[in-house]
């Protein structure tokens, strides 16, 4: 991969071969671990797919991954954790965390449904769709902006600030929904949310568009580069003249807005807005980022990694249902993957230090 950050895992190797010339055996071992660490998410995904494929053949004499219906279902399954995870990736790379995305998503979902229903009185479903989307995105800016101001200006630790916003967004979302789900009265939103283009679900296509934009922002722009710098050494970023305050505020707004996109897509998919839409997905979004190779201490992570992380979680969840395992095993499986993923990282770094 061309970008400098993704090659970080190969660094240990060069250090030793350049400066001290350690024994070839140690070097080989380090190279092996580096490769494992760099591609661990891909490896997990491959192992999971192969496992479920074999399992499906043995148990039901059918295919798992080669069935387009399954692929499509997994892709749709991935949409919400991935969207929450994309904003989360940016925040985690900067050394922060955003716990409010789940209920920001719910808030957006509810507001989108309400505004869409209110807008239908003007007689044009397209107009009310436009208003609903704008409102869904607009409302998402609010918790992000407040998070950003709390963290950048008032020095509130991200964990605490966004935990507070988790509560606020949750309460407001349920209040707006009056404690229930808000059904959408016109069919247009549902038609878009469940429609397809050339066999590709609209939800998936929209998500791919968003993730391409996020990938570009993170890996190709100065803004993305500065997020890595802030996460790597905030003092270095400050001394280099990077506007850490504004970048931080923008980060949390970005995270909220991607959660807002997830909320809008949720309402489109189910033709109803629900305050609790994103609640179970919050931890999945963080898990996706971590499985994808980001460090919770900041400074590393990629959009592609998060995509793979989200796919891994979706494959586990969908796959276990497919092979008819009790659904509670999903939690166990995802938990184990998170732990192994972090362990590989630790071992790789440990070898680098001691060797």
């Amino acid at each position: 991969m061309p970008d400098s950050i993704s090659s970080r895992t190969f660094s240990v190797l060069t250090f030793f071969s350049d400066d001290y010339g350690s024994s070839p055996n140690v070097r080989k071992q380090i190279r092996w671990l580096d490769l494992l660490a760099a591609f661990r998410a891909w490896l997990f995904l491959a192992i999971l797919l192969i496992t479920f494929e074999i399992w499906a053949h043995v148990e039901y004499d059918s295919t798992f991954f080669l069935n387009p219906f399954n692929v499509k279902s997994i892709a749709i399954f991935t949409v919400t954790p991935l969207l929450l995870g994309l904003g989360q990736t940016f925040v985690i790379i900067s050394g922060g965390i955003d716990l409010s995305v789940g209920f920001t998503m719910g808030l957006s979902a509810v507001v989108t449904a309400h505004v869409f229903n209110w807008g239908t009185q003007f007689g044009s479903p397209v107009l009310s769709l436009a208003l609903a989307v704008l409102a869904g995105l607009g409302i998402a800016v609010v918790p992000g902006l407040i998070n950003g101001l709390l963290i950048a200006d008032l020095r509130v630790p991200p964990f605490i600030g966004t935990l507070g916003m988790y509560g606020v967004a949750r309460g407001v979302a349920f209040l707006l929904a009056r404690g229930t789900t808000v059904p959408v009265q016109n069919g247009l939103l549902g038609a878009i949310g469940n429609g397809e283009i050339a066999g590709f679900p609209n939800l998936v296509l929209l998500t791919i568009a968003i993730l391409l934009v996020m990938h570009y922002l993170l890996s190709q722009t100065r803004y993305g580069q500065h997020i890595y710098a802030i996460g790597g050494n905030v003092n270095a970023a400050l001394r280099a003249g990077i506007n850490v305050r504004n970048n931080t505020i923008a980060l949390y707004i970005l995270s909220s807005v991607t959660a807002g996109c997830a909320g809008i897509l949720y309402t489109a998919k189910f033709s109803a807005g629900a305050a609790q839409a994103g609640e179970p997905v919050l931890l999945d979004s963080i898990a996706a980022v971590v499985i994808g190779g980001a460090s919770l201490f900041g400074g590393s992570g990629t959009v592609i990694g998060t995509v793979i992380g989200a796919l891994i979680i979706a494959v586990i969840q969908y796959g276990l249902v497919f092979v008819n395992v009790e659904p509670f095993w999903q939690f166990v499986a995802v938990g184990v993957v998170i732990i192994i993923s972090v362990l590989v990282d630790q071992i790789q770094k440990g070898v680098g230090k001691d060797g």
Binding site: S7, R222, Y228, A236, A237, R239, G241
Partner: protein, 253 residues
Amino acid sequence: MGETDSGPSPSPLLEAERVSKRFGGVHALREVSLLLHAGEVLALAGDNGAGKSTLIKIISGVHHADGGSLRYLGKEIKFDNPQQARDCGIETIYQDLALADNLDVGANVFLGREPVRRIFGLPFIDRRLMREEAEKTLRALDIHIHRLSNPIRSLSGGQRQSVAIGRAIHWKARVLIMDEPTAALGVPEQRKVMELITNLKANGVGIVFISHNLIDIFQVSDRIMVLRRGTKVGEVRTSETNPDEIVRLMVGG
């Protein structure tokens, strides 16, 4: 201070005249004057609390002097913040180096000033240009780092020091202030950094060098200025003194 005694260029690069600084009731600096010519290494010696750090922080724009004046290239200067000093060509390398460990050499050299090229109107960071420019600068300083695309956490202490110096030089620093550049390094690395300082000197950079290590000071400096409790107690040409005399000045014996 005698004006004509040292330095290859006739007019000084940097001049501090009777600079004073108080922190509350404490006189951190009392009317200290300093002179730095291009291609010259001035060592600041002194015990902890002697005022070395205060002096360099005033020069680099972190602190404001309460009294006295600063002149840079003959013009009176007053910096509101370190960024202004840096924009003028006065770079300070602190002990922590201010590098982002997770980024590569090029990204660190260009931190905050990344070049961008446009493709279909969209800005893309030009990583290759950053790498090539960084490599050029480092090569000119005779610094060799293989695999410039690695994050610098994988570099040794001396190499990291070199990157910090390279960054300053890339952005046309004419005055380089170095705070204990060898403190955290092993002996071979210390030697490399010393070589680098000699090299910068040959390129006409003026260097203010803070160190506790008298061996280093005697190895690279042209003049030594000794501070004690905020006052300048001596300034001597390195060739005309010896470590004993410097220590005596430092402790006031």
